[in-house]
Symmetry: C2
Subunit: 145 residues, 2 copies
């Protein structure tokens, strides 16, 4: 399961992607638009900023904007920033591999084999979905809005 925090992050990023990248949007607006508790959203945006996914502008007319073009930000990256590796087990992770300390033989471990299959397919799917794709989908499904 994704954490609630990660779901918030996805929604917030989608909200940012809805407007031109140039104009910064303020925390309060994002919080309202994406239905995320304001103070909690601050934490989330800070983490996203540290990893370069968003950029902040301080001061009076400040706010947050995407750090890159929407087509260059995918779901997998957002989820990894907030929740960590996608894999179901550290021994099946590519970005954060760690051997199971109680695993007797990794080579013949049938469990690991299955988990690696899962992580590969999950990563592939989530990396295919960019913010730009998501926005396009939304427009296609609800053209009147």
């Amino acid at each position: 399961m994704l954490s609630q925090k990660a779901r918030y992050a996805l929604r917030a990023m989608l909200h940012l992607a809805a407007k031109p990248i140039a104009e910064p949007q303020q925390i309060a607006d994002i919080a309202e638009g994406a239905a995320v508790p304001r103070k909690f959203l601050e934490q989330i945006l800070l983490e996203l900023k540290r990893r370069g996914l968003v950029h902040s502008v301080r001061g009076r007319h400040g706010g947050y904007q995407l750090g890159r073009e929407p087509k260059d930000i995918d779901f997998a990256e957002i989820i990894r920033v907030i929740d960590g590796p996608l894999a179901l087990s550290p021994c099946a992770s590519r970005t954060a591999y760690r051997r199971c300390d109680d695993c007797t033989d990794e080579a013949t471990c049938a469990i690991r084999k299955a988990l690696i299959d899962v992580r590969n397919s999950t990563a592939k799917i989530l990396e295919q979905h960019s913010l730009a794709d998501a926005m396009a989908d939304r427009r296609k499904m609800k053209p009147a809005a």
Copy 2:
């Protein structure tokens, strides 16, 4: 991520699958063979039993045995028993669907769409891996043992 408990459960089930289904294996043996803390394993086996994945025999020469043929028990089922639904979000789960309370429009939700893709592919992979397959794999990779 899978919980440690789920990984223990998978290992324990694999251990049970290694011997003929007729002869019950005792908790102590399974604990040692699968490297699972004994008392914790008791809880795990109880849960697996409640869901019919294993069967217990009491008394002197008692123990646990698989509830069905190894080919009829897949990884997905074991994981679901211990950790709950496979999906990354309740709104993307088939076995435990629940609407996101803060979702404005499920139909156009691009996040949900991606998460459903992930859950489908994950379920497919894990349902393809049965205990019997896992044992066969292991034998194939390490024929000398």
